[in-house]
């Protein structure tokens, strides 16, 4: 999977490294800003109230 992706990236080694870094940043940003908040709000919210 990752090997195929690496091969599919255009350019020389440094261009591939730069593109990989960019993709990683996009993935981490999406996880931190949307995926993780949604996951916690949906499945992991601890109840802090007495009821």
């Amino acid at each position: 999977m990752y090997r195929l992706l690496w091969r599919a990236l255009p350019g020389n080694l440094w261009a591939k490294i730069a593109q990989t870094t960019g993709l990683l940043l996009v993935a981490v940003t999406a996880l931190f800003l949307w995926v993780f908040p949604w996951f916690v709000a949906t499945f992991m919210t601890t109840n802090v109230t007495v009821n």
């Binding site: 999977m1 990752y2 993780f36 919210t45 109230t49 007495v50």
Partner: protein, 258 residues
């Protein structure tokens, strides 16, 4: 023929192992990132947003900066206003999710402040970056004789009550409204089961006397679990009207705003 079939099978197995390896690597990476987000990033970002929201709300309430008295600027404590029960404002009812006060606890950090909103709905109040602390609607109103009870997360979503276990006897807890500051003194902590709604009673524990204005803070216990509740009780100390200036202990939070 057989050799070709074996070769194809080996390639298939190799591809499956490659995919499995990549999936395991991805899942491991996502779990590690989640731990970083959960224990560090989220609380910093959400906590900062909640702090900022509280500061902005206080700025809206502040009158144009009055000239400070010499005692206020010299760093010595502001004279403690006398307690006159007839001059303690009682806040009326609020709509669900409405921000009506800010909570300032010096023990939780020199810059710590959070917005108190009406209700304990997770989505609109407790998990919100604009609020964070929720008032139990069934408990007393702010300033009223009885028990003003609030709830907040101890971990995640800004973790407004992350430091609740660090409160020490006599620590001041300030609740700011447009009228001024309700100042409470921390008394003691209790650990109860989640269904123990007695902590919301006007007199929640025998260690507190009837006829007082109390502040009860509830959160989860232990951290990252909702098996129990940690309850921090405080008793009303005095009310500081806005006209008399910001109480000395929290003056640094309101410099240039009140």
């Amino acid at each position: 023929m057989r050799a070709a079939r074996n070769g194809a099978q080996r390639r298939g197995v190799s591809l499956a192992l490659d995919i499995l390896q990549d999936v395991a690597f991805t899942v491991g990476g996502v779990i590690l990132l989640f731990l970083v987000w959960h224990t560090w990033f989220n609380d910093i970002v959400a906590g900062s947003a909640q702090n900022q929201a509280s500061h902005q709300l206080a700025q809206e309430w502040s009158a144009p900066a009055p000239s400070a008295t010499p005692t206020e600027t010299s760093g010595t404590p502001t004279p403690r206003p006398s307690v006159d029960p007839t001059q303690i404002p009682v806040l009326g009812s609020h709509s669900d999710g409405e921000a009506f006060a800010t909570l300032i606890v010096p023990r939780f950090g020199t810059d710590y402040e959070r917005v108190i909103a009406e209700g304990i709905d997770p989505e609109t109040v407790l998990n919100s970056s604009a609020t964070g602390v929720g008032h139990y609607p069934e408990s007393a109103a702010l300033g009223e004789i009885g028990n003003f009870a609030v709830a907040a997360h101890r971990t995640t979503f800004g973790a407004p009550f992350a430091e609740i276990e660090k409160l020490r006897l006599g620590d001041h807890i300030y609740i700011e409204t447009p009228d001024g500051w309700y100042v409470y003194s921390y008394r003691n902590t209790a650990y109860v089961w989640p269904a123990d709604v007695n902590v919301l009673n006007p007199v929640p524990t025998t260690s507190l006397e009837a006829g007082q204005r109390l502040l009860t803070m509830t959160s989860c216990h232990p951290e990252l679990s909702s098996a129990e509740r940690i309850i921090a009780y405080s008793v009303f100390d005095y009310f500081a009207p806005r006209e008399l200036g910001v109480p000395a202990e929290i003056q640094h939070l309101r410099e240039g705003t009140a």
